[in-house]
């Protein structure tokens, strides 16, 4: 169970802001300064180590370094000025527009007279949701914080977050609902920032391919189930033939061929993650819809350049 997160801090002293806020981000070299009028800060966080929602308000100026951690941090401001990744890939944060903090390297930020909403998502939560939609490769996730976000994705993300606030405001959140809310925020985060090395073909990111993208995500999420061409077509609201043409035009293969590629990749992911002492290639192959280990091994070797047994033992 992820541990509960609840933080409250407030004050009017520059040193207090620095000393109380920097440890929350394992930050270094933080400085707080007065702008106009009296300095003041207020910070609050609620949630668990998978996801927490936070608000931060400072009348004044604060800047500092933040090292990479085990969370993705997305924030937006409603008032004030903010620069993320000062001196490198600088982003001037626009009011109301969600902005991801660089997640895999240290960066510097500078904020002034602001009101900020922050969402912390654990990397493990985002990875598990990414895996469900086929965006997770064995190399893990990589995000580009300079990637512009679309207006719709920004609205969807903020909407998912406000549902969490609404639920939290209504009293203690039941565990099942909380899990669902976390999932929904992580999923909308993945639509806000497309992983750089996801397994979804790049063509799907074009706005005109939204229908196809939806069905491809569906295939990734349901690859473990027996799906027919009719099931897949129902998802697109097109005929079976129409769905085939759509796949053929953009991805160069039929829906069922695409599904087979997903399954072959998933056998590999599972072989890599399995313990050879308790798992056999046959078990994994059967789970992903294969009926013949010999032929499966041949297909697998053609695709990945090694036999499945080699992959399984490499994992040990």
């Amino acid at each position: 169970m992820p541990a509960r997160v609840r933080i409250k801090a407030a004050g009017t002293e520059l040193d207090a802001a620095r000393l109380e806020l920097a440890p929350l981000y394992e930050g270094t070299d933080w400085h707080a300064d007065v702008t106009t009028g009296t300095f003041g800060f207020r910070y609050a966080a609620a949630g668990d180590t998978d996801m927490s929602l936070r608000t931060s308000t400072i009348h004044g100026r604060i800047e500092g370094d933040i090292p990479p951690g085990d969370e993705y941090v997305v924030q937006w401001i409603t008032t004030g000025r903010a620069v993320v990744d000062v001196g490198r890939d600088e982003v001037q944060v626009e009011s109301g527009s969600p902005q991801l903090f660089p997640a895999d390297r240290p960066f510097r930020f500078a904020y002034e007279d602001y009101d900020q909403r922050i969402v912390h998502l654990s990397k493990s939560l985002v990875e598990s949701v990414a895996a469900e939609t086929g965006r997770l490769t064995s190399g893990g996730l990589r995000f580009d914080h300079t990637q512009p976000v679309t207006r719709q994705a920004a609205l969807d993300f903020r909407d998912a977050v406000s549902k969490v606030s609404a639920a939290a405001g209504a009293g203690p959140t039941p565990p099942l609902l909380w899990a669902e809310l976390k999932h929904s925020v992580a999923a909308s985060f993945l639509r806000l920032y497309e992983p750089q090395n996801g397994t979804l073909p790049r063509e799907l990111l074009l706005p005109g391919n939204a229908v196809l993208r939806d069905v491809v995500e569906y295939l990734h999420a349901h690859a473990h189930l027996p799906l027919t061409a009719t099931d897949i077509a129902q998802r697109t609201n097109l005929s079976v033939r129409g769905t085939q043409l759509l796949f053929q035009r953009v991805l160069g293969c039929s829906p069922l061929t695409y599904l087979r590629r997903i399954r072959l990749q998933r056998t590999r992911d599972e072989l890599l993650a399995s313990d050879p002492d308790v798992t056999s290639v046959a078990d994994v192959a059967r789970a992903w819809g294969f009926a013949h280990v010999g032929r499966f091994a041949g297909t697998y070797a053609d695709e990945f350049g090694e036999y499945p047994s080699a992959t399984l033992h490499r994992a040990a």
Binding site: R295, F296, T299
Partner: protein, 125 residues
């Protein structure tokens, strides 16, 4: 594992299924009727798939051995259903003959070809 040889095509499937299909084909042939059966198999890439096979008086099918695989294609429900259908068209004796052969194969009993037992309930033809 077995191949069901059908014309110039071979359908790979499990021993029990092949036996049940053969018995049902024999029962249909004797009875002069026809049926279509979905036979579970594996395609060239190894994925599970099914092949529809038309069985009837005019279909010449043959079952031959195929190298075993770690995964035996099995479908107890299908085998039971084929046996039921074979019995329904009066072909119970074919079922017994076929299951005797497949059991012998499954248990890897030493094949004594000189005294090949044609099965308990056959021979009353």
């Amino acid at each position: 594992m077995k191949y069901i040889v059908y014309g110039e095509n071979r359908v790979m499937t499990g021993d029990e299924i092949a036996g049940a299909v053969l018995a049902y084909a024999a029962a249909l042939g004797q009875n002069g009727s026809t049926d279509i059966v979905d036979v579970p198999t594996a395609d060239d890439a190894g994925f599970a798939s099914t092949t529809e096979v038309l069985l009837g008086p005019a279909s010449q099918i043959m079952v031959e051995d195929c190298p075993d695989d770690e995964l035996e294609i099995e479908d107890e429900g299908l085998v039971a259903e084929l046996q039921r259908r074979a019995a329904a068209v009066g072909g119970a004796r074919f079922v017994d003959a076929a299951s005797a052969t497949s059991k012998q194969h499954l248990h890897d009993a030493p094949a004594d070809t000189d005294t090949d037992d044609p099965g308990p309930s056959s021979g009353s033809h």
